[in-house]
Amino acid sequence: MQQIFGRPQGLTDVLQRYCPGCGHGVVHRIIGELLVKLNIRERTVGIAPVGCSVFADEYFNCDMIQPPHGRGPAVSTGIKRTRPNCIVFSYQGDGDLAAIGTAEIVHAAARNENITVIFINNAIFGMTGGQMAPTTLPGMRSTTSVQGRDIKKQGYPIKVCELLAGLDGPYYLVRTAVNTPKNVIATEKAIKNAFVNQVDNKGFSLVEILSMCPTNWGMTPVQAKKWTDESMIKYYPLGEYRNRAKEGK
């Protein structure tokens, strides 16, 4: 009797304190598997964000640092430049990366810093109680936009992949989701590419993952999964926005 699927060694045995149906767990599992598959766990340094996944240092079975809010790409830059042999990944949510950390991510991408960024986009501030985020969809309700996001007052959501694709720097930009097995498999491939790019010293890779937040969306996990398909993916189209490996540069 051989185990073909199970908890990877890249994760600790700590029970994750995410809500039922949260997309963070799936992404943690994928990264945990890759750390073992690519044989990089011993030399990997992860950057935990501020947000729901602030305790990611307890969940990943590799070295972790928890920097100030939004400063993941800046701290990653420092580690990568002083210890080029380390594999550095910055794990960030939309409040961390697209709100307070916008400057850091734009400049890290423009410098084509050789790091991997995992960006979890669930269109809301999860940990603080479901406030409107820069990525909240037009018309979407949150605790600070109870009538729905009004684009005349609060403007349009930030599409991070499209924003960074306007720069010449980044090597690999892709958007995926984790709501169905098909999308999860695409996410596994994208995150693997992002890590392999860093191992091969190619440059900046960012994987944006559309994730579910059933608690703050006010839905059951199954409804949240469907809503991701119906609304999130419509507004944030999946796919590769930059892949210089394919362009041959």
Partner: protein, 69 residues
């Protein structure tokens, strides 16, 4: 023969694996059982039908599912 094992104490009963993901429909949220965190964990109705595709494992956020072959 492949078979699936649910780690009942890890499962949070989100139901993502029970919602038409399984090609042979053998996963349900247990109506009678309850784990120490107060969740109804997922349950396997007929392990002999499992084909070991791993779809339930792929969508499980915990992961509270193990598949053996």
């Amino acid at each position: 023969m492949p078979h699936v094992k649910i780690l009942e104490e890890v499962c949070k009963g989100c139901g993502l694996c029970c919602d038409g993901i399984c090609p042979v429909n053998i996963l349900i949220l247990s109506p009678g059982r309850i784990n120490s965190n107060g969740y109804h964990p997922a349950e396997v109705t007929d392990n002999s039908k499992c084909i070991g595709c791993g779809y339930c494992f792929k969508v499980c956020p915990e992961p509270a599912i193990e598949i053996y072959k």
